[in-house]
Assembly symmetry: C2
Homo-oligomer: 195 residues x 2
DNA sequence: CAGTTCCGCAACTATCCAGTACCGGAACTA
DNA sequence: TAGTTCCGGTACTGGATAGTTGCGGAACTG
């Protein structure tokens, strides 16, 4: 039936990973197919055979970002909100978060003009984090640790928002010290029970 | 002494304003000198005679953003923190803030690679806002209204951070309802005195 | 008035890059 | 083995644009 050499599907992942690697270092507009091909050890023709063009390629790369670390079942459960929040901040997580922030910066301008990019970024980068924080905070409320009147939806955005602000706008390191400051200086005070 | 037709210095402002107008609609990379010239009713040669190139031009445009509205002496003083924060949110301010957020989005990618752009944006767009919020919050602490143990530096970043997150990342409107939610759901709870 | 510099405009060069086409070779099918 | 499709690589085309140059005219100086 189907005749000829078969397409090597494993190259897809190599190429998409190369796209993200390039986006860590350069912006959406500056990324060229040649950079991706060189990084992936592929020919440009191979890329054009699999994706319709630059936009489709980048869109696919963003969508395949791995966020299994934030699945609800894998979130920390130390018994206290402060412990849960700090438990997320292991070096691996900080490193992958830094990578995602750089990609986010490279893609921000295009998000204004291409709703598909905006949707892909939201689904792959933004929403998983906010969902995770919402889950931890809601659990603290249910446990009676946090103020039952708290605006959980708003509070769940505080850490992602301040992290992206620090990375994208202030251009300062999003490290353990920063997260600790936000947790102890903003999040926990805002959620403390009124006595 | 100096011979010949004099340079019309008033065109500088027209051209720089045109740069910002274009940046509201397109990104740093997509902006062309031709777009700026057309918008300003100028020739490309006039622009190249005044600035060394595209980077210098955009840098100058960012630096000349007007923030006189945020001078310390002009900040609201209603006697209560909530009133002060809400008093900043008149329609003019929301409109100019939206404009600045769009410019910020257009420039974000270049901030990673050009420290001059990053410095210009910080000085012209970010720092004035944070300074204003810090001033209002510090005053509330001094007045005894806010928790004296509050981390004023961290809290002053909450509103700018969540606004830029909403505009740049979530692509949702940064309007009165949003600010009210943040003020009542995050800022005021975090600053409330422990009783 | 003569000479100079600015102005808007248009023509021009040089570069970069998306996208296409093809090559020789490898992998696969019948 | 013959024919087909994929692979990495290279050459090519076409469009966009940064930056330069020159034109005709206006503004200014002496």
């Amino acid at each position: 039936m189907t005749v000829g050499r078969k397409r090597d599907e494993t190259r897809d992942a190599d190429i998409l990973r190369a796209v993200l690697d390039v986006l860590v270092e350069t912006s959406y507009a500056e990324l060229t197919i040649e950079m991706v091909a060189a990084r992936a050890g592929a020919g440009r023709g191979t890329i054009y055979r699999r994706w319709a063009g630059k936009d489709e390629l980048i869109l696919a790369a963003i969508a395949c970002t791995d966020r299994t670390d934030l699945e609800t079942g894998r979130l920390p459960d130390t018994g206290a909100l402060r412990g849960d929040l700090l438990a997320m901040l292991d070096p691996d997580w900080l490193g992958s978060g830094d990578r995602r922030m750089r990609i986010l910066a490279s893609v921000t301008a295009m998000m204004s003009r291409n709703p598909d990019v905006s949707a892909a970024v939201s689904a792959a980068i933004v929403e998983p984090s906010v969902d995770a924080y919402r889950h931890l905070i809601q659990r603290a409320v249910d446990r009676g640790e946090a103020d039952p009147a708290a605006d959980v939806a708003a509070m769940a955005q505080v850490i992602p928002a301040m992290a992206s602000h620090r990375a994208l706008v202030l251009r300062q390191p999003v490290d353990l010290a920063f997260f600790t400051t936000i947790i102890d200086g903003v999040v926990l005070p805002a959620l403390a029970r009124r006595s």
